[in-house]
């Protein structure tokens, strides 16, 4: 029988780790006593820890290992939950029971904007900051925001769309900018919307995808718009119309996860700044779900909560990458 060295022209390296290996290389892990292969691993969703409450229209922030979820319905709650990569535990309660709101930032520096408790209209116009322990520092966004979504950080945020409720025109194209202390109006985008997806690092770069459009209706759209710190320009449309959706990332590396098309979908796609490409589907359709903000790329992140029905489950995403597989004889 031919040996590996004869076929490949080189012996299998004996290494303590995969450092220095290349895609396609077989190596011997002398720490764990196993042959391994550096190979392309496709993107996948895995189950994460279950949240202490079930809900949809919750908001999310943080990363896969330091995530945050707050609010949601039904019933509408003020619960905040913190994720450590395995387990959700309760954090400081939101000042009011809230749903249909927007969220961004990190687990210890999160920002929550507006929202609506359907049992206590009208829509809210306030924002709160989370410091890892409690919600405080209330500010006025300047307008009501039923279905408003926000991107960026606690000190450099862009709140987009949504609008007053009750009222027939809760979808808007309004932008509000937050610097960590006060809100000012930004330039409007083109297509009115609410319950859309947002991504972006801060006030210098953002993306909005899909959502409900047309005044007072829930018509899904596929329009994408990108923000450069001053104005909005059209991006490549999403492959389908989608609303009540969520995602994470940046303008050149963004993942859209689930939503309604118009019924709940398990479909996900990644945007590189010019093209949408399908990626791993979630195990089940999920809409009105919240997501982490990730690390402003699609290498990792998660979605939690959503519908139907009200969900307490978490799905963790790992993007396509070169990784290590153990070679077995079975």
């Amino acid at each position: 029988m031919a040996e590996y060295r004869e076929i490949q022209g080189a012996a299998v390296q004996s290494l303590a780790s995969s450092t220095g290996t290349i895609e396609g290389q077989i190596w011997y892990d002398n720490v764990n006593g196993a042959f391994k292969l550096q190979t392309f691993l496709s993107a996948s969703w895995a189950s994460g820890g279950n949240m202490p409450y079930a809900g949809y229209t919750n908001a999310g922030a943080g990363t896969l290992t330091a995530g945050l979820s707050w609010g949601g319905s039904f019933p509408v709650v003020s619960t905040t939950a913190e994720y450590d990569g395995s387990t959700w535990t309760t954090g400081g309660s939101y000042p009011v029971s809230i749903a249909n709101h927007g969220g961004t930032g990190s687990q210890t520096e999160a920002l929550s904007v507006t929202g609506l408790n359907p049992g206590a209209p009208p829509a809210r116009s306030d924002a709160f900051e989370y410091n890892g322990t409690s919600w405080g520092s209330p500010t006025s966004v300047g307008r009501q925001g039923f279905g408003m979504k926000v991107l960026g950080t606690q000190t450099s945020a862009v709140a987009t769309g949504g609008g007053p409720y009750p009222g027939p025109t809760y979808n808007t194209n309004d932008t509000e900018l937050y610097d960590g202390s006060s809100w000012t109006a930004g330039n409007p985008f083109s297509t009115i919307r609410s319950f859309h997806s947002t991504g972006g690092v801060n006030q210098t770069s953002g993306i909005i995808v899909g959502g409900r459009s047309a005044p007072g209706t829930e018509t899904a759209i596929n329009a994408v718009e990108e923000y450069d710190g001053t104005s909005w320009t059209a991006g490549t449309v999403y492959p389908t119309v989608v609303k009540e959706c969520n995602g994470w990332g940046a303008t050149n590396d963004f993942i859209q996860a689930g939503g309604s098309v118009p019924t709940a979908t398990d479909a996900c796609a990644i945007y590189d700044g010019s093209t949408w490409t399908s990626t791993a589907s979630m195990p089940a359709a999920r809409t009105l779900n919240a997501t982490s903000m990730g690390t402003y790329n699609t290498q990792s992140g998660m979605t939690f909560g959503g519908s139907p029905p009200a969900l307490n489950t978490t799905l963790e995403f790992t993007g396509a990458q070169v990784g290590t597989q153990t070679i077995t004889t079975t």
Partner: protein
């Protein structure tokens, strides 16, 4: 030969489906904790055993899903009319649709 098999298992959270599982198998969940995974597949069989899944025939799985959907439809039908109106629905509540399972 069937391409998929069904089982009932409760998602306990972290570790229920791992990235390793997801890279090898195709998972789809349905109402009633019904899970659809690849048939004639050792990895799928190991996953079902690992999550203490209870195997179901297509007909048995369909009956479980039907019962859950029927209950959800009844719950939706009992909602006040204003919560069903698409221009008012805060969360886009729509009547759950029938689901037909396939192998």
């Amino acid at each position: 030969m069937a391409n998929y098999q069904y089982s009932v298992a409760t998602n306990w959270g972290k570790g229920f489906i791992t990235h390793k599982d997801a890279s090898k198998l195709e998972f789809t969940s349905f109402p009633g904790n019904v899970w659809k995974v690849n048939a004639n597949n050792q990895d799928a069989n190991r996953w079902i055993a690992g999550v203490a899944g209870e195997r179901k025939t297509l007909a048995e799985a369909q009956a479980i899903v039907d019962a859950e959907v029927t209950q959800s439809q009844a719950d939706w039908d009992a909602l006040p009319a204003d919560q069903k109106a698409p221009t008012v629905g805060f969360e886009s509540v729509t009547r759950p649709e029938d689901i037909t399972l396939t192998e």
